[in-house]
């Protein structure tokens, strides 16, 4: 049972990282970036290729090549996030909400097919040498519960990254600008914030988080495929809505709830049931709390 919960937490951490990207973009632009799942998938591919290149150039150094792979994934996914905003969304900012939404769906299909045609339509394997060390070693917490180094790595890295994100949002000038643009774009401009730059940065930060999730999931599952971002994207979006779209802690909460639900269902009922249960829960939560668990935060008079 403890192990099921642990698996759920690991899965949830990955959902949470991707959900943060959805919720940040929604918070600042009021749109759902449906191509975000593809940025995650590109992160997976870039990690695998990055490790491949790094371990050819620097044979023998497992940890270094892993780090270089993840770094490359962050750089490439951020570049995609940046250009997605510039190419597919910026000009549509004043348009009806359906325009950027449709553009996002189109972009998602374009990116999937681009990877399928330009790289491969088959799955690619995560380099064994890098994952073996982490998946074969484990830490025995107590009798009956042991955590693999890989799970530890995923949980640790996720919490670290989320911690950094919260710090940036609440303690830095960039975070102040992001919150200002999300709350009142006109006023943000009047205090001297460059709205365009802030929106682009939001896309880049969200994409970097998706890339980190992509690196971790590809390592955990051992494979990546051009359509790996599809279900991940939908589920992370679900997690963001579950927690309250636009709400940063909500995305983290939603991610963990989703991950735990899936693993508990797989354990208790059977893994065929996990998607059905997950989305049923989403629907019930939304019927009771249409704004999600934590809601879009609004200020109340005291």
């Amino acid at each position: 049972m403890m192990e099921v919960i642990l698996n759920g937490l690991v899965r949830g951490a990955c959902y949470a990282l991707v959900a943060l990207g959805y919720t940040m973009v929604y918070g600042i632009l009021g749109m759902i970036n449906f191509a975000h799942g593809e940025v995650f998938m590109i992160g997976m591919f870039a990690t695998v290729f990055g490790i491949g290149i790094a371990s050819t150039l620097l044979p023998g150094s497992i940890v270094l090549s892993l780090c270089l792979g993840v770094t490359l994934a962050i750089v490439i996914a951020s570049a995609f996030g940046y250009s997605n905003e510039r190419i597919a969304y910026r000009r549509l900012r004043g348009a009806h909400i359906m325009a950027p939404l449709t553009s996002a769906i189109g972009l998602s299909i374009v990116l999937q097919n681009f990877i399928m045609l330009s790289v491969t339509k088959d799955k690619i394997d995560f380099p064994q040498a890098q994952s073996r060390f982490f998946s074969e070693n484990q830490w025995e917490v107590c009798a009956g519960l042991s955590i693999s180094y890989l799970q530890l790595l995923i949980l640790g890295a996720s919490f670290l990254v989320m911690g950094i994100l919260f710090w940036v949002i609440h303690r830095t000038k960039l975070g102040l600008a992001m919150r200002a643009v999300a709350q009142d774009r006109t006023m943000a401009q009047l205090v001297g914030i460059s709205v365009n730059k802030t929106i682009t940065t939001t896309f880049v930060v969200g994409s970097a988080l998706a890339a980190i999730a992509g690196a971790m999931v590809s390592m955990y599952q051992g494979i990546a495929r051009f359509d790996s971002g599809y279900l991940m994207g939908l589920k992370a979006f679900t997690a963001a809505v579950l927690g309250g779209i636009g709400n940063i802690p909500g995305a983290v909460l939603g991610g963990f709830i989703l991950g735990l639900t899936e693993d508990l269902t797989s354990y208790g009922v059977g893994s065929d049931w996990k998607n059905l249960t997950t989305f049923m829960i989403l629907m019930v939560v939304l019927l009771v709390r249409p704004r999600g668990l934590l809601g879009e935060r609004t200020a109340h008079k005291v």
Partner: protein, 237 residues
């Protein structure tokens, strides 16, 4: 009083093809409080939007300290020392009072932020009490004080206010105008847009009256306050 700080020369502008301003000329000299009066739709807010480079003039010039402002951006105009405290206050509702103030100094070096926040608290002690409360939970009067405080954080050389009395109780309006006078005496020139003409003219050195995009009167605050025409049209007498 020789060279104006801000000078609008035959300014035309509006939104899209529509021309809201049809040739506006006005000046603000250093040390002054100048008020721009007029009814709804006269073009007062449009004038401020043009000065802030939120919209581009169709014709005419905006001259600031002797140089043109026409092709700027809002952050560029702010960096040159003009700040706009906009209509309806526009407090960031989910930021604390302190954050709302600090963001006013976004373009400046953040090292002196704390010191400047303390100065604002001297003007508005009420804000100090509510330092960590969210902006959206303040009353209308407190929000207006916060909006003015936020504008001052950028250390402006000209403070422009768009209807600071809007929707506030008379007693609070009086208090806010008192503070505006105090701010002006500390050396900040003010361009004040108001529908509450009586209050505005009481503190203004000079005033302009605007009707459908043109200036129809300009005189000292005292003379405008005593002018029959202005009294009839704007003071409801």
């Amino acid at each position: 009083m020789s060279v104006p700080l801000l000078e609008l020369k035959d300014l035309h502008g509006g939104y899209g093809a529509s021309e809201v301003l049809k040739g506006v000329s006005l000046e603000v000299y250093s040390g002054e409080i100048v008020t721009l009066l007029g009814g709804n739709g006269a073009g007062k807010t449009t004038t401020l939007s043009l000065i802030m480079s939120i919209i581009r003039p169709q014709k005419g010039k905006i001259i600031w300290q002797g140089t043109h402002l026409n092709e700027g951006t809002p952050d560029g105009v702010l960096a040159r020392g003009i700040v706009l405290c906009p209509e309806a206050r526009r407090i960031f509702p989910l930021m604390s009072v302190e954050e709302n103030l600090k963001i006013g100094a976004y373009l400046l070096d953040s090292r002196r932020e704390g010191e400047k926040v303390e100065q604002i608290f001297d003007y508005f002690p009420k804000l100090a009490e509510r330092k960590s409360q969210l902006g959206g939970t303040l009353s209308g009067g407190e929000q207006q004080m916060l909006a003015i405080g936020r504008s001052l954080m950028s250390e402006p050389k000209l403070l422009m206010l768009d209807e600071p009395s809007l929707g506030l109780a008379p007693l609070i309006v009086e208090k806010i105008f008192e503070i505006l006078l105090k701010i002006n005496r500390s050396g900040v020139p003010i361009l004040l847009i108001e529908q509450n003409a009586r209050q505005a003219l009481k503190i203004a050195h000079r005033g302009y009256v605007m009707v459908t995009g043109t200036i129809v009167h300009s005189d000292t605050g005292k003379n405008l306050l005593e002018s029959d025409e202005v009294r009839r049209a704007y003071l409801g007498e």
